[in-house]
């Protein structure tokens, strides 16, 4: 690894690069899919590559390949400089990086017990088949889809300042969907930065979830259609994480705010001039960015620019106080050091500013979910995520879910169907009336958040307690919403 990195960095410097970094990256991903308990597909993928990025005469250049030899590394450096020269004709603002302490020979491994790639394929298939069979045996379940994605990510990073980091991360995303006629319901188990132990009882109670799912599905299939209107919502973290992801985490990516994604992923209503003043929501709202959270999907030791992982505030007492940064943006906006939010999903891609684990803090000593429900006269308890959509400035959003339980006079009163809630980001977060306590907190997330051109997928977690929102607009999706 060191010889490859040295060859690339030395060549880049010899060609006049002001900065160069190199990544040797291996991504292993195995995907299992079962249909009605039978294996439908098992795919085992591994991508190994080398990437060189330079700043040359103020312009970025990037080149990558899958040939991992000293000669190829030096050639990639030449190609990266060539790309920088080409792009330089269009550059009007030079790229300068914020300084970062040198982290020499740093090693970091994520927190897991059992390497899922060391578990025999037959054992992994049987675990999913077993869970599928239990669902299929239940009354009313016609079909079951099951899937498991497991990822092992290895990165060696080195730059011209002298930082070298070597890291390994593991993550799992299991999912089962029970289908009854036109209705379906998915498990709530979130993807997690854990090993195979996650499938056998650590971090999630599969027995409890599989036992409960058929009855919930039957109730969902027979539920009345919702009457559109304004409702108080108690939102479980299995749903609220996605609302946090779309309306807060993406909106506070500084690259979006500065227009870097204006032609693709979009911009943000949370413009830079409002830092420190924008009333994002209720004073109960405290949101952090954190690349150190245990088992978080965006948790690392160092980011893909050699910046050590950190935790920082994004929204404090309901006010916007921070953005997610990479080194260039930290320098350009005089924000000091980067908070470590650069990530590339493979050696084939240049690092982008990607989100850390962005989470809503629970209220110390705050209410339980039942107590939150008890405060609602007419409302809906929303559990699990499904459909999501938000506009390019992260204002107008619409979400559905897995379960919608009617709340009548402080008690659950059966499920509803065809529910979507729709709001504008700041109105929605202003309607936050209560935040649940630590016992309601759960870390959820996604393994495939898309951004950038060419496209990249990133894994990220979002923690949240249950929370109560007043007077949210609810649509009936069957009525054409």
């Amino acid at each position: 690894m060191r010889a490859l990195a040295d060859a690339a960095l030395e060549r880049a410097v010899a060609l006049g690069a002001d900065h160069a970094d190199v990544r040797l990256q291996r991504m292993r991903q195995q995907t299992l899919r079962l249909r009605d308990g039978a294996l439908e597909s098992a795919r085992d993928g591994e991508e190994l590559g080398l990437a060189v990025r330079v700043v040359h005469d103020g312009a970025w250049g990037f080149a990558s390949g899958t040939t991992c030899t000293v000669a190829a590394a030096a050639e990639l450096a030449e190609r990266a400089v060539g790309v920088a020269r080409l792009g330089g004709a269009l550059s009007r603002v030079p790229a300068v990086l914020a300084p970062e302490p040198v982290h020499a020979d740093a090693v970091w491994v994520s927190d897991y017990d059992v390497d899922p790639f060391a578990v025999p394929l037959a054992e992994r298939v049987e675990r999913l088949a077993q869970l599928s069979r239990r669902l299929l045996a239940a009354d009313g379940v016609d079909h079951v889809d099951a899937s498991l994605v497991q990822v092992l990510e290895n990165k060696h990073y080195a730059d011209t300042a002298g930082t070298t980091t070597t890291q390994q991360r593991v993550r799992l995303h299991p999912e089962l969907v029970a289908i009854a006629g036109p209705a379906s319901m998915r498990t709530l188990a979130p993807p997690a930065g854990r090993g195979w132990e996650y499938m056998t009882g650590t971090g999630w109670d599969w027995d409890a979830e599989i036992d409960a799912l058929p009855a919930l599905l039957r109730e969902h299939a027979a539920a009345p259609s919702v009457e559109a209107g304004r409702y108080d919502l108690v939102i479980h973290p299995s749903n609220l994480w996605l609302t946090i992801h779309e309306s807060i985490a993406h909106a506070t990516e500084l690259d979006r705010v500065l227009g870097h994604e204006a032609a693709f992923a979009g911009t943000s209503f949370a413009t830079f001039d409002q830092l420190g003043t924008l009333r994002y929501g209720s004073p109960l709202m405290h949101v952090t960015g954190d690349r150190t959270a245990p088992h978080g999907l965006a948790t690392v030791g160092y980011d893909d620019e050699g910046v050590a992982a950190q935790a920082f505030d994004i929204v404090r007492d309901g006010v916007l106080v921070g953005y997610q940064l990479d080194r260039q943006m930290a320098q350009t906006r005089a924000l000091g050091r980067s908070n470590g939010c650069a990530y590339a999903d493979s050696a084939q891609r240049a690092p982008l500013q990607r989100m850390p684990n962005v989470s809503l803090r629970p209220a110390p000593g705050g209410p339980s979910t039942e107590e939150l429900i008890g405060r609602v006269e007419r409302g809906i308890y929303v559990v699990g995520n499904a459909s999501w959509s938000i506009d390019m400035q992260r204002l107008n959003f619409q979400f559905t879910g897995q379960q919608f339980h009617r709340i009548q006079d402080g008690r659950l009163a059966g499920q509803l169907r065809d529910v979507a809630y729709q709001a504008t980001t700041t109105d929605f977060w202003a309607s936050l009336e209560a935040v649940g306590g630590p016992e309601t907190y759960m870390l959820c997330g996604t393994i495939a958040c898309g951004k950038g051109q060419p496209g990249q997928a990133a894994a990220v977690s979002h923690g949240s307690p249950s929370a109560l929102f007043r007077g949210v607009n609810v649509l009936n999706t069957r009525a054409g919403a």
Binding site: L48, P120, D391
Partner: protein
């Protein structure tokens, strides 16, 4: 470094499975990306990826081992084949089994050198872009966008002796113009497999018209509006429907193509207009793989057993009536129907339609003209109800003229319902789906006139 063809041979030779498919993809890409008139990311990538699929017959059925890796040497290719063999032995039997595809006549040039692309392919566009950026700076406008060129060679070989090869040139050019206060916005996108065909001047002129029009803005409330959907927006909606066109999923009652009570909707009239939805690997300008490549594993849309089978032109909707769905060979046998692999392009056309989008604007008394759609997501699978937003330009049309810009909207609509309600289709033209174009970009679509498009809420996004 070995030639790609040698690596394929090495993998096949190393396999001791009962059957084996090897797919090698040699990919190179160059891209430029700019924002607010400065470069953001740009680069060149090269990758060689091989997939080996081993089939192992046992008393209980056939096991499949599917392994994908980056490979450079014959030894790595052989190791990959052995890994697939091992995976097939460990695999549970699969349900739907077919014999591997036997050799058939084709005129692929298997041994030809593999073409690659690099930053030089983008160079002819840079001076025009630089000039546009500078000119717009003087107008208080900003340029954002992306230019990409790709070359992918796919080599497919089977233990039955089949050899297929396809060289795919691909690319896109997207340009977004915004006023410096970011309050006005316009978008242009094109599928351009050859960057020399990029017309920066035409794209810039189109955006300048949009930005000038947006100087006058009218606020409109949510509601149902007569709406002109341009080809790019129609493409985003139709690709969504195409990706749910598996016969087996319809049979299982999972999609909009399922008939209530059982079976599928083949034979049912879906569109009032004589609209035809088709795929054709040989469609001019939209050429794509003429044989089936399934490296993602078994699904209702494709089977690893079917690798290499020819992909013929297919008509999914014929003059308004649903006529076919995607079927693997195993599912075709189970249902007594013909196999029908999907193709990598999608074409929608209306018999006799000749109107341009400008013609359709001219014949509109009052309505909305949309530029593109964004963040389109499925809300309800059985109706294929989608939600999403308008983006980078909604315009008010009055008495045949564009008179002002309008705020953005969230919509809730099903593309299948839209086919039923469309009252006019324009002429078909090649287009780039704004959102789906990252993964599925070879489309040709008409503009559609929807008399009552449902704009469900207003979005304040600019």
């Amino acid at each position: 470094m070995s030639a790609p063809q040698e690596l394929v041979d090495a993998a096949l030779a190393a396999s001791v499975a009962d059957g084996c498919v090897v797919v090698l993809e040699e990919h190179s890409a160059a891209n430029l990306r700019w924002a607010a008139s400065a470069m953001t990311t740009n680069g060149w990538t090269s990758a060689r990826t091989m997939t080996a699929i081993a089939f192992r017959e046992r008393a209980a059925g056939t096991g499949i081992g599917l392994v994908t890796r980056s490979v450079q040497t014959a030894a790595e290719a052989a190791a990959l084949a052995r890994a697939a063999d091992a995976a097939s032995r460990a695999s549970a039997p699969t349900e739907d089994v077919s014999p591997l595809v036997a050799p058939y006549l084709c005129d692929d040039d298997w041994g030809a050198e593999v073409p690659r692309t690099g930053p030089d392919a983008l160079a002819p566009v840079v001076p025009g872009l630089a000039a546009l950026v500078d000119r717009w700076h003087a107008e208080d406008w900003l340029a954002f966008g992306y230019l990409e060129q790709q070359r992918t060679t796919t080599l497919l070989a089977t233990s039955t002796g089949l050899r297929r090869r396809f060289d795919q040139a691909d690319g896109r050019f997207e340009l977004t113009g915004k006023s410096t206060d970011m309050q006005r916005s316009a978008w242009y996108g094109a599928h351009v497999p050859d960057a020399t065909a990029v017309d920066v001047g035409a794209a810039g002129a189109e955006l300048e018209r949009g930005l000038r029009t947006a100087a006058r803005e009218v606020a409109l409330p949510p509601g149902r509006y007569e709406t002109l959907l341009p080809p790019a927006a129609v493409a985003d909606l139709m690709v969504f429907a195409y990706q749910r066109i598996a016969a087996r999923d319809a049979h299982d009652g999972r999609t909009v193509f399922a008939r209530p009570g059982g079976g599928d909707r083949i034979g049912e009239r879906l569109a009032a207009l004589p609209l035809t939805l088709a795929s054709d690997p040989g469609a001019p300008g939209l050429e794509c793989l003429p044989f089936d490549v399934v490296t993602a594993g078994e699904s209702a849309l494709g089977s690893a057993f079917d690798n290499g089978q020819p992909v013929a032109p297919a008509t999914w909707i014929d003059r308004g009536t649903l006529t076919d769905l995607v079927r693997t060979r195993a599912w075709a046998r189970a249902t007594g129907a013909a196999p029908r692999p999907p193709a990598g392009n999608l074409l929608l056309s209306a018999d006799g339609a000749t109107a341009s989008l400008a013609d359709m604007v001219a014949s509109t008394q009052r309505g909305l003209l949309v530029t593109s759609l964004w963040y389109v997501r499925q809300v309800e699978p059985r109706t294929l109800l989608l939600t999403g937003l308008t983006r980078d330009g909604v315009y008010l049309v009055e008495d045949g003229r564009i008179t002002a810009a309008v705020n953005n909207f969230r919509f809730n609509e099903s593309p299948i319902d839209l086919l039923a309600r469309a009252t006019e289709a324009g002429r078909t033209e090649r287009t780039l789906p704004r959102e789906r174009g990252d993964a599925f970009r070879r489309t040709a679509m008409p503009a559609l006139r929807i008399p009552d498009f449902h704009m469900s809420t207003v979005s304040a996004a600019r």
